[in-house]
Symmetry: C2
Subunit: 429 residues, 2 copies
Amino acid sequence: MKAYREMDREELLALEKELTGQYEEAKQKGLKLDMSRGKPAPAQLDMTMPMMDIFNSSFDMTDEAGVDVRNYGCLEGIIGARRLLGEMLGVDPQHVIVFGTASLNVMYDTVSRSVTHGVMGSTPWCRLDKVKFLCPAPGYDRHFSITEHFGIEMITIPMHEDGPDMDLVEEYVKDPAVKGIWCVPMYTNPLGITYSGEVCRRMANLSPAAEDFRIYWDNAYCVHHLYEDRQDTLPEMLSLCREAGKEDMVLEFASTSKISFAGAGISCIAASLGNLKWVKDSMTYQIISHDKINQLRHVLYFKDLDGIKAHMRKHADILRPKFELVLETLERELGGLGIGTWTKPLGGYFISFNSMDGCAKAIVAKCKEAGVTLTGAGATYPYGKDPHDSNIRIAPSYPNLEELKITAELFVLCVKLVSVEKLLETAKM
Amino acid sequence: MKAYREMDREELLALEKELTGQYEEAKQKGLKLDMSRGKPAPAQLDMTMPMMDIFNSSFDMTDEAGVDVRNYGCLEGIIGARRLLGEMLGVDPQHVIVFGTASLNVMYDTVSRSVTHGVMGSTPWCRLDKVKFLCPAPGYDRHFSITEHFGIEMITIPMHEDGPDMDLVEEYVKDPAVKGIWCVPMYTNPLGITYSGEVCRRMANLSPAAEDFRIYWDNAYCVHHLYEDRQDTLPEMLSLCREAGKEDMVLEFASTSKISFAGAGISCIAASLGNLKWVKDSMTYQIISHDKINQLRHVLYFKDLDGIKAHMRKHADILRPKFELVLETLERELGGLGIGTWTKPLGGYFISFNSMDGCAKAIVAKCKEAGVTLTGAGATYPYGKDPHDSNIRIAPSYPNLEELKITAELFVLCVKLVSVEKLLETAKM
C-alpha cells in the first residue's frame, strides 16, 4: 500500500471520492452499535451464572469465622473475601478491606475523604489553596473525572511503552501541592501496556514533598490476560513500597467487576495498616457493613486464585477473538498507510489507536454519524483535551463478532476518509 | 409498691442490701448478651431466606425494561426497585433513586456532597465558617455521628410525644448557618413515637433562612408496625412539602435493611427532581451502577407493597412478644416505684427508658459488669452527652425470648440498685 502522505493531490482526491462513496453506503445500513465503554459481553456474564446457584433458602449463611453474613457487622468485609481478593493482588488479607460493587466508588470516596478530612491526619484538602494530581495519559477517563469533580488540578504525564514518564513524575512530586497520581499499572486503560519493573520501582521510591501524597494504584486488570503463553507481569506494589520504607504511599484498588458481574461484583482496597485505619475511621460513620452475602457468594464460587484464573481463561476465550479481529482489520486496512498506529495488548479491555494529529474528533464523529458510538475523542486525557486530537480508545468487548466486524470496518473507513480530508486540507494551506 | 422517694434512709439501706445481694448473684451467672444495637434476630433473617431461591443459573437476568441487571449501567436503579421502594414511601418512582445496601451510606454521602460541592448549586459547606444541624434528641446516634464527623455543630431539640419541639425548630431555622435537621419520623429511634400530622405540616412549612436547608427524613421504620389493629400513621412528606411550595426542602431515606437482610438489602433516596439531579451530578463520578442483581432479587421477591406488608407481619410476630416481655417486666418490676418511665411503641426497634436524672450511665455500667451490653448511655444525644444522664435505649430485637427475659430482669435490677444508691447519696448531701 502507498502511504497517504506520499500521494499527490490528484491521487488523494480520487481516494476521497471512493471513500466517500463507501461511507455513504455504510451510512445506509442504519447501524446502531455502542463501543464506548469497556463493558463485558452478555456471553461473559452468562459464564458466571452458576454463581446464582450457590445459595438457596436452606443454605447456612454463616461464614468460616462464624459471621452471619445476612446481618449487620464486619465492616472490613468477611475474612474469606479479604483473603480471595488479597490473593488476587498478592497481598496479605489483613491489608485488605472489601467493599461493595465498585472500586470506582472506593476511589471516589478515598479522594472525597481526603478533601473533607485529610489523609491520615494531614490537612484536609478543602482547606488548601491548591491540590494537584498527576495523570498519566492517555488514561482512564473516570479517574480524571473524579479529580476534576473535586476541583483538583490535573497535570498530564506522557505515557511511554513501559509506563508513565518517571523523570517527570519524580520532578512533579517535589511540589507539595501534588497529592496523588492515577495509575492503571497492568494492561492499562486504554493503552493495554503494563508498567515495567523499573517504572514500578521508581514509583515505589518516589520522594514526594507532600506527606499525604498517594499512588492510586488501580489494578483493575490484574488477572485479565488474553493469552496463556504470553502474559505481562507486574510487581506487587505494596511490598515494593514497604521495601522502600514507604508503605503508606500506595493505595491499591481492585474489583471483580470484569471477573464476575460488572454491576454486582465485590471491590477492595489494599494498603498499609495505617492507611486502612484511616479509611475505617470514616467508614465507621458511613456504613455498618457492605453486602456480605455477595462477598460470601464470590468466596464460595471462586474459592481461591486458581478458581479466578480458571474463570479468567474462559473470559479470554471470548475476548481474544475480538481483539484479534480488530487488530487484523487495522493491520489489513491501515498497515503501511502511515495514518495511524495502535497498541497490541496482551490483556485488559482496550486497544488504543492514534490517528494523525487533529483527526480523532472527526473520526469519532464520522463513526457516530454512521451509527457507531466510540469513546469520545479526548476522553482519555485530563479535562477531555487531547493536545494532539489523536487518541481513540477502542473497546471491543461488548459487541459480538459479527457486529464487531462491521464496526471495525466502519472505523478504518472513517480513519481513511478523515485522514485524506486532513491531508487535502493541510496541502491547501 | 412504695415509691423509692417516699422511703426513709433505713428502708433504702435495707433495700440496697437486698438488691446488692441479688446483683452479686446475677453476676455469677456469667452472662454475655448484647442489646446495644437494633439488630434483627436470626429468626427474622431466616424468614427472608426464600429470596435466595429467586435466581438460578438459567434465570433470564433481564428486567421489565430490558436492562441486563448483571452489567454496568442504570445509575438510578432499575425501574422495578424504584417503584417498589417508591410505593413503600408513597412516592412516585421518578422521585426515587435506588442505591446499595445501606441508607446510612446514602445519608453520609449526601452530607459529604453538601460539604464538598454544596446543595443544588449553593456554597459548599467546607467554605463556610459555621454549619449547624438541628438534632431532635433522644435520637439516632449514627445520625449525630455523621454530622459530628464533618465538624457540623449540633443543636439539641427536645422531643415531645408528637415529635420535635417545633417552636424551637421554627426559631432555629432563622439562622442561615442551620442547614438541616435529622428526623426519624415514624417509630422514631429510640422513642418509638411517630410525628403527628401537625408536626409534619409545620415541618413542611418551615421557612429556613438557608436556601440549602434540608430535612433529612429517615423513614427507616415506615412499615415496621408491631400490631395489626393499632398502627401509627405518617403523612407523606414529599407531597406535604410540595403543597407548601417547598418541594426541594426534604430528602427522604429508606432501606430494606430491617425488611429483607440487615447487611444485604437495598436503599433509596426520595426527593424532588431538582434534588435528584443534584445527587446524580455527583453519583455520575462515584459509581456506574449499584448492585442491580440484588435490586431485581428484591423486586421479584416482594413484588409490591402488599408483599412487603405481608412480610412485615411475620417480622411483627417475632418482634411483638419481645417488646411485650420487656414492657411487662418494666411494668411489673418498676411500676409505681417512681424511678423510671418508658415508652410503649407500636412499631420500630426500640423502647426508650428514662431513669432518674444522673443514673443512666451507672445503670448501663452495672448491666455491662454483669455481662449485658446496652447502647452506651448518652449515645442518643448529640456528642453523646445526655444533659440529664437519664435516657437509655433498649433494643429487644436480637436476643431470643429466654435471653431477653434474663436481660430485662437484670436491667430492672440495675435500675433499682442504682436508683437506691443515688437516693442515698443525694440524702447524704
